[in-house]
Amino acid sequence: MDAPAIEVRGLGKRYGEGDAAVDALKGVDMTIAPGEVVGLIGPSGSGKSTLLKCLGAVIEPTKGFMALGGVPVFDGGWKIRDLRGLRRDSIGFVFQAPYLIPFLDVTDNIALLPMLAGKPNREARRMAVELLEALDVGHRAKASPAELSGGEQQRVAIARALVNRPPIVLADEPTAPLDSERALNVVRILNRMAEQYRTAIIVVTHDEKIIPTFRRIYRIRDGRTYEEAGEGRAA
């Protein structure tokens, strides 16, 4: 049996010290299998973004345990020194806005990651084009990000998140700027990619249109997560 893509136990994050200390995360438990897409929902200020930043190795948790792809990453302290390399090779990010690099064309926006990982330019671009084809935006490979529609930009952002075949992808409200049809299309793509690449995907969302598509949901409230079953409707 595969190790969980994400395993989190008792994860906590405290901002500030003394009387001014705020516990943004008080004890998060979470286990996500490879290829699984789960929703992370909760009201504003509940700790969603803090959890995402901890899982993304962007900020350091205060306590708890975290393993990504079966590799312990945090256990009371970072277990890996090269967090930059960890983010590059093991974690994909999809943001609320696509945040594509405006001075690179679509292909290079995606190919940049494998290039940073040391892949030759030609190989990196081949990987990028392959993924663009899979996401039905192969015909925009040479376009500038500004020439793409919102949906196309988000698909390119998903391709960028997946190009290094990371075991996990963290998607921060990826459908927020999209209409219903395009939002559901993004979810379909995420599901397809998760299955195809065996990538675990956490989708932070407020979007009522896509919440019913998750089979499993983590609801976060006051810094704690509560697991519940989703409807798992087809997107």
Binding site: L52, G56, F95, Y99, I101, F103, L104, A111, L116, R160
Partner: protein
């Protein structure tokens, strides 16, 4: 790995080109200032070369004839010719003056010389040399005089019979060469009213107008209307003799000041244009600081404009040195664009300067190096800002 800096420059090429043009004009001014200084040094050396002398003999305790006024009796050269190691000695006069040409005044240095001796124009580009004893001149082309043109110097009219080139004073004024006697008259002879007044005073002086001494008054009056002074004597040293030693002998035995080529070059370059050189150096420093401030501001604002992209780049694993290199390369790229434009405009507008602007390849290389250093320093603030960008800002909340 793709060049992030190159892609960003291509993406914002209009911004880069326009900023580069502005910076380039500033660099062009900087290079021109350096060229003006080089031109001043070259003018000084041209003056020395055109004199074709090994030693300048001038009035005692003066830095003449270019840096200070100097007056030497015009028969002093005879005594110099008799000294060991002196091959030739020639009288010269130098007078900076304005010559009227039509509606404009031309500022020139009038050089009095003896044809065939040191001090004459070394070459001509048109016409012939001065052949008659009076009222002929050879002029530098920058005076704007034409062959056959008649010009007025003091009370006499002169015909331009020849043209020469790059014959200028240490101030950059073009030279006009005229016969020594005419030049002495132009420089030392008083005007008619002054002569009449001087004669009246002499006649009225009982000590000078003595009835018992016939001929004294006539001799005195004659001496007042003739000029027996020159500004310097140019000495050529005989082969096998040391100029320093010959100059030392002249100083010791003839009670005159004597400068060798090296000493005169030191006077012209170090002393005469020292203040101007310091002025230009100060201006160059200010321009370098202004250029650094402009590049720094541009790169800084451009970096602030892509904080979100930098956060994303850092989040997806881009190394700090890659980001720093991107900003440094952009700054250097801007400097390179600016330098190419600056060098081009400095070359194009150099001929239109009233003074000689000498753009040396070595100065261009030094200018390029200085530009790159200034741009590298200017990028430091932006690099600092970029490296402080928190990758977490790419994630909402």
């Amino acid at each position: 790995m793709i060049s992030l800096a190159g892609r960003d420059i291509l993406h914002h090429w209009t911004k880069y080109v326009f900023t580069g043009v502005g910076l380039g004009l500033l660099i062009g001014v900087t290079l021109s200032m350096a060229g003006i200084y080089r031109g001043m040094v070259d003018d000084a050396q041209v003056l020395l070369r055109s004199s074709a002398a090994d030693i300048w003999v001038v009035q005692q305790e003066t830095l003449g004839p270019y840096a200070e006024p100097s007056s030497v009796r015009d028969d002093a050269y005879r005594a110099l010719l008799g000294m060991p190691g002196v091959a030739d000695a020639a009288n010269v006069t130098y007078l900076t003056m304005q010559i009227r040409q039509g509606e404009r005044d031309v500022r020139v240095m009038a050089v009095g010389f003896e044809p065939g001796r040191s001090g004459e124009p070394p070459f001509l580009v048109a016409g012939r040399g001065v052949e008659r004893s009076h009222y002929e001149v050879v002029a530098d082309v920058r005076t704007g005089f034409r062959l056959g043109e008649r010009i007025r110097i003091r009370r006499q009219e002169y015909e331009v019979v020849g043209l020469t080139r790059r014959m200028v004073s240490s101030s950059g004024d073009p030279m006009v060469f005229l016969p020594l006697k005419d030049a002495q008259e132009a420089q030392f002879l008083k005007d008619n009213d002054a002569i009449v007044n001087e004669r009246a005073r002499t006649v009225a002086n009982p000590g000078l107008n003595r009835p018992g001494v016939p001929g004294l008054l006539d001799a005195l009056l004659a001496s007042q209307t003739s000029s027996r002074s020159v500004n310097a004597v140019l000495v050529k040293v005989a082969s096998g003799h040391d100029a320093e030693r010959v100059a030392g002998n002249i100083r010791r035995w003839k009670h005159l000041e004597a400068y060798t080529w090296r000493q005169m070059e030191d006077i012209l370059v170090s002393k005469l244009i020292e203040t101007s050189a310091r002025q230009i150096a100060t201006f160059l420093v200010i321009l370098a600081i202004v250029s650094a401030a402009i590049v720094s501001f541009i790169i800084y604002t451009m970096t602030l404009g892509k904080v979100r992209e930098l956060a994303v780049l850092k989040l997806i694993g881009t190394r700090n040195r890659t980001i720093a290199a991107m900003i440094l390369q952009q700054s250097l790229g801007l400097g390179l664009i600016g330098f190419v434009i600056g060098k081009t405009v400095a070359t194009l507008w150099a001929p239109y300067f009233p003074k000689y602007v000498l753009l040396l390849p070595g100065d261009a290389v030094r200018g390029l190096a200085a530009t790159m250093v200034v741009c590298a320093i200017a990028s430091l603030v932006a690099i600092r800002v970029a490296l402080k960008v928190d990758p977490a800002t790419a994630i909402g909340g």
